[in-house]
Symmetry: C2
Amino acid sequence: MSPRTSEKFKEIRDVRQHQLKDAAIELFGMKGFAATKISEITNKAELSHGLFYHYFKSKEELYVTVLVELLETMIEMIDEAEEQSESPLKQLEWLTDVTHSAPLRDGVYRHILIMQALYSDYLPVETKENIVERYRLMVIRISQIIERGQLTGDFIEGEPEELAIYHLSLVHGLLLSNARKMVPIELSVDKVLRQLKRHEARGEDA
Amino acid sequence: MSPRTSEKFKEIRDVRQHQLKDAAIELFGMKGFAATKISEITNKAELSHGLFYHYFKSKEELYVTVLVELLETMIEMIDEAEEQSESPLKQLEWLTDVTHSAPLRDGVYRHILIMQALYSDYLPVETKENIVERYRLMVIRISQIIERGQLTGDFIEGEPEELAIYHLSLVHGLLLSNARKMVPIELSVDKVLRQLKRHEARGEDA
DNA sequence: GTCTATAAAGGGATAGAC
DNA sequence: GTCTATCCCTTTATAGAC
């Protein structure tokens, strides 16, 4: 087969894999790993049930693939945040904003998925380790931003890693609340950072 | 059968139901509804697979039962919080504290379970409505505490219901982080309330 | 690469004995 | 009330034709 054809094949494979992964993110995020059926994934991705197994060895393989990629993306976003500005405060603002808005369509599910994977335990220990490892890295990276922000006087005092946990917890918690819009509220970067920002003088509220 | 015997029977039923519900809270909370097998529940509760169906019509019935009871308990805790003190700040402090510590053993799973139920969608709409309804009540009750706390000057300004969401989001997010102790931190009521409390003068931090 | 049909497995739910 | 054995449906995964 000519290089041209094999290239074409590869392209098709990539597209199909993408369709499946996108469908999976939303479904896994919405219903969890166990409750999501292969047929639902292939329906959403608009291909046949059988074809699934030409692209992934099993449901679990797809799950892990998606998960690892998501975590990688999130860490890349931290890199990007740090390129946006010199100010740690601005960096965290950018990151918080992008977390809530940029992943427009199924962005929320990305985070839910990661949280699910972190606190549930249906996956093999080594896989779990892998995920936790990457999540830890994320926490550390954010705590480093906070630490620098403390030096500039933008953020309150306290153990940076602990503050990072509080920050991430709030962000994730809000994403969950909003995901199911049982109590829909307008997310605000300023309000999310309320617990982190140092409060100078007064009259800044309202 | 004598009243004495029927009473004894009822007692056994109650004990069994309790065993099953306790086991279910932990397992559902840990793995989710779909991933939890009846056999796992009965194993943990130390009775046979078949006996399960003498106590609950189905897995879903157990799930809903547990969920509704948990939400009821949480609302009762708010009642209790309001009896503890006249001060809204003290009330919320008490509630936050009890949320993290009182439900000692599997307390964490109670909250995770509720969150799962809220944002996932494997249960019938009417059941879901029921759950959401009760959760909304919780949010309202907390926002009322916050509203009163604004009048006393303990809490910052802002839409009370929105502040309640931020508060609950943080609490839930922290519970999740801690549940899997990937990044174990010491939860602190003061730090949780940092985003809500009005900051008088300065020098209070550190 | 893609599909339909089918096999294989897993787990919820029931039957019936004790 | 409790257990073991079994049914049966759902869903994962494979086979084989196009």
